[in-house]
Amino acid sequence: MLSFLALLLFNAFIASASASSDYSEHLLLRPLPQKALLASFNFRSNESSTAFEQQNFRYFPRSLGQILQHAGTKELHLRFSLGRWDAENWGQRPWNGAREGGTGVELWAWVEAQNEEEAFARWLTLTNALSGLFCASLNFIDATKTIRPVMSFPPEGDHQNPSQLHLLHGTLPHEVVCTENLTPFLKLLPCKGKAGISSLLDGHKLFDASWQTMAVDVRPVCEEDGECTLETEQTVDMVLDIDRSKRPRDNPIPRPLPIEEIECDTSKGYSAQDTCYPIHKTSEPAFSLSGIYGRSLKGACPLTDESSENSYTVCINTPPERIIHVNTTGQYAESTSENHAMRCYKLPVGADFDLVLPEQQMTTRLVLAQPPLYAARHINGHGQEHGSVQAVITNPSSTDAVEFVYLESLPWFMKPYIHTLQARVNSSPENPIRETYYRPAVDRQRGTHLELRMVIPAASTLTLTYDFEKAILRYTEYPPDANRGFDAAPAIIRLISPESLDKKGIYLRTTSLLLPLPTPDFSMPYNVIILTSTVIALGFGNIFNLLVRRFVGADEVQGMGPGGLKGIIRGKVERLKARFLTKKKTA
């Protein structure tokens, strides 16, 4: 439990610190198994709400502040995420998943408004403004992608008039997060990525990570005495593949190493000059900050206050035996937590700072905190007509049951059949669903919103399945890459018990789903219109032709001749004429 404690301490003292000082930033590094490195950046600034009202911003980014005021937004949570967190190998998520989002872009906010309509109008202004600010297509979050969660997102901040607050939530699962989102993100920071730990953040490395998420959270925090501050927290968490990140930028191609550099297992009988069974290295890989980020840490951000323990900005969470060389010209300070699992450094001002960890064979390794739940979600069945979604949620804990809220927000063209919803726990026959909130989709107006409060007994697996049907859209409603399919947003799981220590809560998210829809032939409109009209005209013409004319004997008709082949041919001609006449009439 070594590191888990450490992590808690870390979070705790950040939390405690945050209230006191006005700006602080932290970087936590933790080597993970399989040559991965978790780096979680955290930037925090406070603004007294009075100052915020008077629009005199000190640390609070003005651009963001004005948007929030304009849209009447009291609390904002914005997420940009990429990749997957591998819970089996990497353990508990940073910040208990409270600072990460589903793949793509996720946004939820508490908007102050008299009624739902006004709230939604303000929500639209907010999304449009933010999409401009962050260069993301947030403006595509329209009514069909917006839901109003009831159980999943309690407010993080302390609000005066909760009655007038409306929670709105929207996701863009297909949005690809990239450097153009990072730049405005850094712009919001007081040091703008010029100094402090933010100077490490480089687009190329960040988006080469196996998993990364950027978060912006704004929430009001009030003391007992009632004076409130508006807290902005910006977070960047990433898991880097050390081998990949260490590659120089000018030569990123993982060419096969020369055979000399590969350790071969000579114990194998067949081992020879040309035959090499590579030994799987167990030692911790060497890395240095400048090495994996491709740039050096340009000293502390001068805006962080020097005094408090809060100024110990960079922390690394390794077993005590791990050798760490600090490489800087300036002067720094080091502090270690009592169990020595966490080493924190106070950055020098105006001088580069680097941590260098050599390759090392470890005897002890970190015990990573076990995540409270594992979740996976898949689409079963094939074909573009209907299918079923299957979510498998596992409770690894052998002692205590877990209660949680499961939130699905599905696009309208994916029509779930809620009567086929089944939740089974492998250990007990009883129905794990305690409470259900369901708001069905309406075509082209809003998406499905499903929230389930469920309980998993200890050490058991919950399987949730429901059928759905795929709608066929109008051909103008398909995107250019119609045959790729549509993305369905990840399911969001919030733990109720065991509840978290802070107000942030414990969250985890599944991966998003790819939903292939039946596609019409996009080149066909004119042909379809013509053919269908022809068939209708044939039916109509035939019937009304019969209705409006009257029969006479063939021999009574003049000019039909004596019949015979000639007569027949002429008859045909006559009929043709007649047919085209009626056709014209009908068409």
């Binding site: 040559k35 990749g83 997957r84 591998d86 089996e88 793949t103 793509g104 699962p173 080469d208 990570a209 196996s210 593949d241 990949r244 990123p252 191609i253 993982p254 096969p256 190493l257 020369p258 055979i259 590969i262 071969c264 194998k268 009988g269 067949y270 081992s271 040309d274 035959t275 090499c276 069974y277 590579p278 996976a376 898949h378 079963n380 069945g381 094939h382 079923s388 890459d481 119609a482 045959n483 790729r484 399919g485 993305d487 991966t511 789903l513 790819l514 292939p516 044939l538 035939n542 004596p562 019949g563 015979g564 082949l565 027949i568 008859g571 045909k572 009929r575 043709l576 007649a578 047919r579």
Partner: protein, 631 residues
């Protein structure tokens, strides 16, 4: 429709009824001829990649150098597992994959078909693409045993090495799944069924790890032993179960990369020697059609195609100078192309006949040949329908044509109109258009249901007694028509009209089945159509109505019926299949065992077509033929 009315006004013209036999003969010959001209340059096209995102062979491949040494080591590892049980084997392979930081899982499966017990274990690993969000995945397969039953040493080793190599790249925008299946047909089937959760849990274990929607699959078949073997060409296998084909773009990409980028020759349909002559193209096409028509699984890739996952197998053949690394680089480049794919394969053709690695005909060009053959049955059935309406009214039609004087001078064609006239006089009308539909319909439908019996028997008989069952079926089906005809005759001698209608309906159904089938499995429809084509010339021979001279056919109809029936007996599906197996020197029991396995494991439909469409038509035909004997 007004036009139709005049055409149909002619339907009672005696001359009209002479045409259809020649017309359907024309259709059959036309269909065959159509197929024969396809290999010509004028009718076939050279292949091209129409999905721009693929960019085949545009990337430099780096799978060389030290990877080769590692490959050799892995190949020894694979060889060391040959004797072991599937579980031990997969534990070891799983460890190798796990040591490359991949997520590994295994899957057990056990099928029962024709008394045999097919059970084995798959092992697979998922590489989570750094750029991927778990929505899409591509599969690299190596079956432990290839189709020929040899151990796929180098193929498995190559997959292991590539897994280690791919893990280092950061450009994968789709997950990559490395699947080492227990065998070449049932293993992949079990895996892909479980992946789409359409498996029966008591046969197949569910998958513990899944990824996104499968976008494509490539299988490697390289059975060279631990000391390696240099190959000459890549044999690209592309037939799916039930004759479904992968998107042509995938095939083209593979050919393009192998021959264009790596300089490895590509061949298909076991045409080891193909010097682009008409004969070679034709043979390739025909072999392709036969293998498509059989609809059997032709490699590990086959099971993927019914799930709309385009897949091919790369098989090394011959002795040449290409080594495993070039195959590895081909796969690498192929996967880079698949990785570029933005949308699911949809641009290029799904229906095509290949006559060379870079020549093909698309559905628009070849479908008519099968369609006209199907149409010939419909034509005959329409003709028979008209004839059945006409036959009883013949004597009545005779009378008015030599009545009142005033119409004498009309030209002969007025007979048409007059017949038309007569036909609508109520009494005559009822007798003419009144067709006894019950017996014919009942007979034809029951023959189709009768087909269920052999279908069930052959799918569920244990292997040892299959040969007996087959011989029985052969003898039974050969004599059954005669007995049925005799029985019909004894119970209630069906009138000429009824026999005609029997033939009419059975041909109508046959034509319909084949037309529908031609869109699902062109080759099967074509082959069945050819084999059944004589049926459209089968007529029940009856004594001519009174007052007419006996023609040659009617006079000695007994002899003709017997001869015709005996000829027809040679076209009995059971016999035809037997002959085919003799021709290709295969044991018919193996075919039946494969078919049963197909039925129970891969969802094979060929035998359904044989027993529920082809055989009933043949049966009805020969009953009609025999019935001539009893008149």
């Amino acid at each position: 429709m007004a036009l139709l009315s005049t055409v149909l006004a002619l339907r009672r013209d005696p001359r009209i009824l002479k045409v259809p036999p020649y017309l359907s003969l024309l259709c059959i010959l036309g269909g065959i001829a159509w197929l024969l001209v396809l290999p010509l340059n004028e009718y076939s096209r050279s292949t091209y990649v129409s999905e721009n995102a693929l960019l085949p062979g545009q990337v430099h491949t780096y799978f060389t150098g030290s990877e080769h040494n590692i490959f050799r080591a892995y190949r020894h590892e694979v060889a060391s597992q040959v004797e072991k049980s599937p579980q031990e084997r997969n534990n070891h392979l799983g460890d190798i994959l796990r040591s490359n930081n991949l997520r590994v899982a295994t899957q057990n499966y056990e099928y029962h078909a024709s008394g045999r017990n097919i059970s084995n274990q798959n092992v697979y690993a998922v590489l989570q693409g750094p750029r991927a969000d778990a929505t899409e995945a591509i599969v690299l397969i190596a079956a432990w045993n290839n189709m020929a039953g040899e151990i796929n040493h180098s193929g498995v080793a190559l997959v292991l090495t590539l897994a280690r190599y791919f893990k280092r790249w950061s450009l994968w925008s789709k997950d990559i799944i490395f699947l080492i299946s227990g065998d070449s047909t049932s293993g992949p089937q079990a895996w892909v069924d479980a992946y789409h959760d359409s498996h029966s849990p008591d046969n197949v274990e569910s998958l513990s790890i899944k990824s996104g929607a499968l976008q494509g699959a490539v299988a490697v078949d390289y059975p060279a032993g631990p000391w390696g073997h240099r190959y000459d060409k890549l044999h690209i296998v592309y037939d799916g179960v039930n004759g479904q084909l992968p998107n042509l773009d995938l095939f083209n990409t593979a050919v393009n990369i192998a021959s264009g980028q790596m300089g490895i020759g590509c061949t298909l349909q076991r045409m080891w020697k193909h010097d682009d002559k008409y004969q070679d193209r034709l043979t390739t096409m025909l072999r392709g059609m036969i293998s498509q028509g059989l609809g059997h699984a032709s490699g590990p890739h086959s099971s993927f195609i019914p799930y709309h996952v385009d897949a091919i197998t790369l098989q090394t053949v011959g002795d040449g100078w290409h080594d495993e690394m070039s195959l590895g680089r081909t796969v690498e480049s192929l996967f880079r192309s698949l990785n570029n794919l933005l949308e699911h394969f949809h641009q290029s053709f799904f229906f095509y006949l290949l006559m060379q690695a870079n020549r093909f005909v698309s559905i628009g060009t070849y479908l008519p040949s099968a369609m006209v053959i199907a149409v010939n049955f419909s034509i005959t059935s329409i003709a028979l329908w008209v004839a059945s309406g006409r036959s009883t009214s013949m004597p009545k039609l005779a009378s008015p044509s030599k009545s009142p004087k005033d119409k004498k001078e009309n030209p002969p064609t007025t007979v048409v109109r007059r017949n038309g006239d007569i036909s609508i006089v109520p009494t005559a009308a009822i007798e003419i258009t009144e067709r006894p539909l019950f017996l014919p319909l009942a007979f034809v439908l029951s023959t189709h249901f009768l087909g269920l019996l052999p279908l069930y028997i052959f799918n569920n008989t244990p292997k040892p007694s299959l040969f007996l069952a087959y011989s029985l079926a052969m003898s039974m089906t050969s004599v059954l028509p005669f007995l049925t005809a005799a029985l019909l005759h004894i119970l209630r001698g069906p009138t000429e009209q009824e026999t005609t209608l029997i033939q009419c309906f059975s041909l109508l159904f046959l034509g319909m089945f084949l037309a529908a089938l031609a869109t699902l499995n062109f080759s099967l429809s074509f082959l069945v159509g050819i084999a059944a084509s004589p049926l459209s010339f089968v007529r029940g021979l009856y004594p001519a109505p009174k007052g007419e001279v006996e023609g040659f056919a009617t006079r000695n109809r007994g002899a003709i019926s017997v001869v015709g029936s005996l000829l027809l007996a040679a076209l009995n599906p059971v016999i035809v299949i037997k002959v085919a197996t003799l021709y290709w020197g295969i044991d018919v029991v193996d075919i039946l065992v494969k078919a049963a396995e197909g039925w129970h494991v891969w969802g094979l439909w060929t035998q359904v077509v044989v027993w529920l469409a082809w055989w009933p038509a043949w049966f009805a035909g020969s009953v009609v033929m025999w019935s001539g004997l009893f008149t």
